[in-house]
């Protein structure tokens, strides 16, 4: 097992270099450069300022040379400084944004698990019933509806007309003056709408997955055998079928690890949530190469790690899968 993990980890190094190289080249292929956004198309700016910024950001050097410089720094876990004028380092910028995004995504993911799994399992048990059909319509409606549109409708109804929830943002102005309980309530209130709407949009995938997986398991012979032994339907479903049906969910969870740090641009913009999605979008639009690379690399690292964790966890929960140990007989 340890050998297997070490092998996988080693394999990641060339993979990571490949990913960063392609990303680096591709973002430099996009027309425009960061200096242009600071110093162009503005009559108030001086003529020499463009050249000044080009020099400041090393933009006059060839892409390959810049990539090698970047890689050298990255090997020492230095992501460099953002090109934007606030002079922060890339890590500082990411650190600022990460907690919010993780909090929203984890809350969303947990809610999706709690709601989608029972919905999927129950639809499988009551296949083709009114309940099953209703759930299908409900989750697909959520899947198909553009979230930004639903978000705007909800903001208008619950925010402007009813005034139950704040429309956007993370905290109230008087956040500092609230009691601890008040602070928690304030954050919960502010995150309620975004989380609920993103959960509504995300139910379909997991609930369909759970339903199909459950249906497959229910067709297995050992279920028929269990029924023949007269075990109660409740026990069959929750004790015999569920365990096996939920195995593939582990893979899905592993794959959703990188998603935890990524935010949706449209969603974050509408709800004014200063998260990773906005950071990434803005840095792409401003051609802030170090930040773009930083976010991409962290995403790539987490994807690779997520895959590895999923594979290992799979081995842990599924006795049929064992890595490394060969059959001795």
């Amino acid at each position: 097992m340890l050998r297997y993990i070490a092998k996988r980890l080693l394999g990641m190094v060339p993979l990571l270099i490949g990913i960063t190289f392609i990303s680096f080249v591709v973002i430099h292929l996009a027309p425009g450069d960061p200096a242009q956004f600071i110093a162009s198309m503005n009559p108030k700016l001086s003529e020499t300022s463009y050249e000044k910024f080009v020099k400041m950001y090393d933009l006059d050097k060839p892409v390959l040379e810049r990539y090698i410089n970047w890689l050298g720094k990255f090997a020492r876990f230095d992501f460099g400084e953002s090109f934007s004028q606030d002079g922060k380092t890339v890590l500082e910028k990411i650190k600022e944004r990460l907690p919010v995004t993780i909090w929203l995504n984890v809350a969303g993911l947990l809610l999706i698990l709690v709601i989608a799994l029972p919905l999927g399992v129950l639809s499988a048990c009551y296949k083709d019933s009114i309940f099953d059909k209703g759930v299908t319509v409900f989750v697909f409606a959520g899947f198909a509806m553009p979230t930004f549109w639903l978000a705007l409708l909800c903001m208008y109804y619950f925010g402007v007309i009813k005034g139950w929830f704040p429309i956007s943002g993370l905290r109230s102005f008087n956040y500092e003056y609230l009691s601890t309980f008040g602070k928690i309530m304030d954050i919960v209130k502010h995150t309620f709408m975004p989380v609920v709407i993103s959960v509504f949009g995300g139910l379909a995938g997991l609930s369909r997955f759970a339903r199909n997986s459950m249906l497959d398991v229910l067709k297995e012979e050992y279920i028929t055998a269990a029924r023949a032994r007269g075990i109660s339907e409740r026990k069959i479903i929750f004790k015999h079928a569920l365990k096996n049906a939920l195995l593939p969910v582990v893979t899905i969870l592993g794959l959703s690890v990188p998603g935890l740090i990524g935010g949706s641009v449209i969603f974050e913009s509408i709800f004014s949530i200063p998260g990773m999605g906005q950071l990434f979008y803005q840095s792409v639009m401003m051609r802030d190469y170090p930040v773009v690379m930083g976010v991409l690399v962290i995403g790539a690292l987490l994807t690779l790690a997520g895959n590895l964790i999923a594979d290992i966890a799979y081995a842990a929960v599924d006795p049929r899968i064992r890595y490394g140990a060969k059959k001795t007989d």
Binding site: K44, M155, S272
Partner: protein
């Protein structure tokens, strides 16, 4: 010559008088406020589409940063509500007889937000900061022209130029920075980027990245404490959300789109709580023709296209009437604007006639114009994300088709638009806009030397007389005398039509009606934000000190 000297002296007198007059006013500020029945307290919540990049005014260039920072700093001079140059940190100034140098007398009662006194050393530091090639600023041009900067005494400074330079005075409206906090430090990494210290009416309170920036009233402000306790800038990246936050009362002020202004603000919810303010915004939209393209080399073709452009229809249909027709690059109502120029009212018949004179005729009977067997067809480019420009493109496409011209429209992402097309001169015509800055010097956009990559005369228009007018106008300090050069410049532009000037839009502002003392003026709405107040019974936010 005598006349010029006389005019200069009269300007001098005027400025000195102005200086004195203003000083008197300042002593009365506190009393004036009491008379008006204004009260202290409450906060104005405003919004911005993006987070500020930093709060040292002189080195940032995004509007989000400037909107916040302009409340924190002062320049030596500033603009009043009618865009006149008036004293700010300088209590008066004197322009030498040869017009080549300015002596600023500084106020003695000014303190930085941290309590340190403001002196001439700070001004000198700011000047050196601006011309230092290590300073990441884009605004060094005006300061690089200074020949000599000297501190005469702790409250007097003198700047000299090689030649009289008309925009010089206004250039000293640049924010003055605190020497004692910035000297010897790298500005972009200084803590002042996040926690600025200035001399202005509001001082920095707190900045939550990506959420809010809060400023609070400066009790020690030399012109009297502003009435509002706080200014809060919320970062809301989406305009629909901002509008709902406005309706909800969580944001107090917002620039509205023409659609919102006309169609979405007639509800009781809005009219009971908000006032609408409007003024002519300092910008104009235009269609620019690449004059290097043989198609547009003949001015008759450009004139014909202008005659065939339904400007009023564009204003009525796309802006819902919220704008005025533009005939040149200056804002109507300012002293620089010359209304006495050739105008191009919509007249397709006349356009056809002029095109026929230029050799473009319907020779094949298919309703299209041909010259030497080639059809009149070209592409209009504009940038993505501005639906107004796309709609303008569609409107002119329709109306030019009527006179036999076929036009394609391409909408491009901003960076590719500028880099691949504008900078390389690879375009026929573009729809764009310019901001109208206060100083009328049109050098950057209209001088023939400004044709090239990254330069602003990207249509490469070149006219010897205009070059001469621009070069001369820059060195004339007396506004009336200077105006003569720009009047002629506008006449030539109107005759030549390198741009089809479209319109100057109205700024459309929705503001919560609890704020009093608000009055739209040529300078906009927020120029007197330190005089706004909220009557005690209407105050919404309370803050503990």
């Amino acid at each position: 010559m005598k006349k010029i000297v006389f005019l200069l002296i009269s300007v001098l007198c005027a400025t000195i008088l102005f200086g004195c007059g203003d000083k008197k006013n300042d002593n009365n500020v506190a009393e004036k406020r009491k008379e008006k029945g204004s009260v202290l307290g409450d906060a104005l919540v405003t919004s911005s589409l993006g987070d500020a990049s930093g709060l040292i005014y002189n080195i940032t260039s995004d509007s989000a940063s400037h909107d916040v920072a302009r409340n924190i700093y002062n320049g030596l001079v500033m603009l009043d509500k009618d865009l006149n140059i008036v004293p700010d940190l300088a209590e008066s100034w004197e322009i030498s007889e040869d017009s080549k140098s300015i002596i600023f007398k500084l106020r003695k009662d000014v303190k930085w937000h941290d309590g340190a006194p403001f002196t001439a050393d700070d001004v000198e530091f700011t000047y050196k900061f601006m011309i230092d090639s290590n300073t990441p600023t884009s605004y060094d041009a005006d300061f690089l022209l200074v020949k000599e900067f000297s501190v005469i005494d702790p409250y007097t400074v003198k700047v000299s130029y090689d030649e009289p330079y008309a925009p010089a005075l206004l250039s000293w409206g640049m924010a003055i920075l605190p020497k004692h906090l910035l000297e010897g430090k790298e500005a972009a990494k200084s803590s002042l980027m996040r926690e600025p210290v200035g001399t202005g009416p509001f001082k920095f309170k707190e900045w939550k990245s990506g959420e809010t920036i809060t400023l609070e009233a400066n009790d020690e402000y030399f012109a009297g404490r502003p009435n509002l306790d706080r200014l809060i800038f919320r970062i809301i990246p989406d305009l629909n959300t901002t509008f709902m936050e406005l309706l909800n009362g969580s944001v107090d002020i917002m620039g509205l789109t023409p659609t919102q202004w006309v169609k979405q603000t007639d509800t009781a919810l809005f009219t009971n709580n908000y006032d609408k303010h409007t003024y002519l915004s300092p910008s104009y939209a235009y269609i620019g023709y690449n004059v290097k393209n043989p198609l547009f080399a003949d001015k008759k073709v450009r004139q014909a296209l202008s005659y065939a452009t339904p400007k009023q229809e564009i204003i009525d249909g796309i802006l819902f009437g919220e704008g005025v027709i533009a005939n040149g690059p200056y804002k109507p109502g300012t002293i620089w604007h010359n209304d006495n120029v050739q105008k191009y009212d919509y007249d397709p018949e006349k356009a056809k006639k002029i095109l026929a004179e230029a050799g473009w005729e319907e020779t094949k009977g298919d309703g299209k114009l041909y010259k030497d067997g080639k059809p009149f067809t070209f592409t209009i480019l504009t940038n993505q994300g501005n639906s107004v420009r796309t709609k303008i493109a569609e409107t002119v496409q329709q109306s030019w088709r009527k006179i036999g011209i076929t036009v394609d429209i391409r909408v491009l992402e901003w960076a590719s638009f500028i880099n691949e097309y504008i900078d390389k001169g690879k375009f026929d015509a573009v729809i764009m806009g310019w901001n109208i800055v206060v100083d009328p010097d049109p050098y950057d956009v209209w001088h023939s030397s400004k044709c090239g990559p990254k330069l602003l005369n990207f249509i490469c228009y070149s006219n010897a007389e205009i070059d001469e007018l621009i070069d001369k106008g820059k060195h004339v300090l007396d506004p009336t005398e200077r105006k003569k050069y720009y009047d002629r410049f506008q006449e030539i532009l109107a005759e030549e039509q390198p741009y089809t000037f479209l319109y100057v839009p109205n700024a459309l502002i929705g503001l919560n009606n609890r704020f009093k003392g608000v009055k739209a003026a040529p300078a906009g709405l927020t120029y007197n934000i330190d005089e706004w107040y909220v009557p005690a019974k209407d105050q919404k936010y309370r803050f503990e000190k």
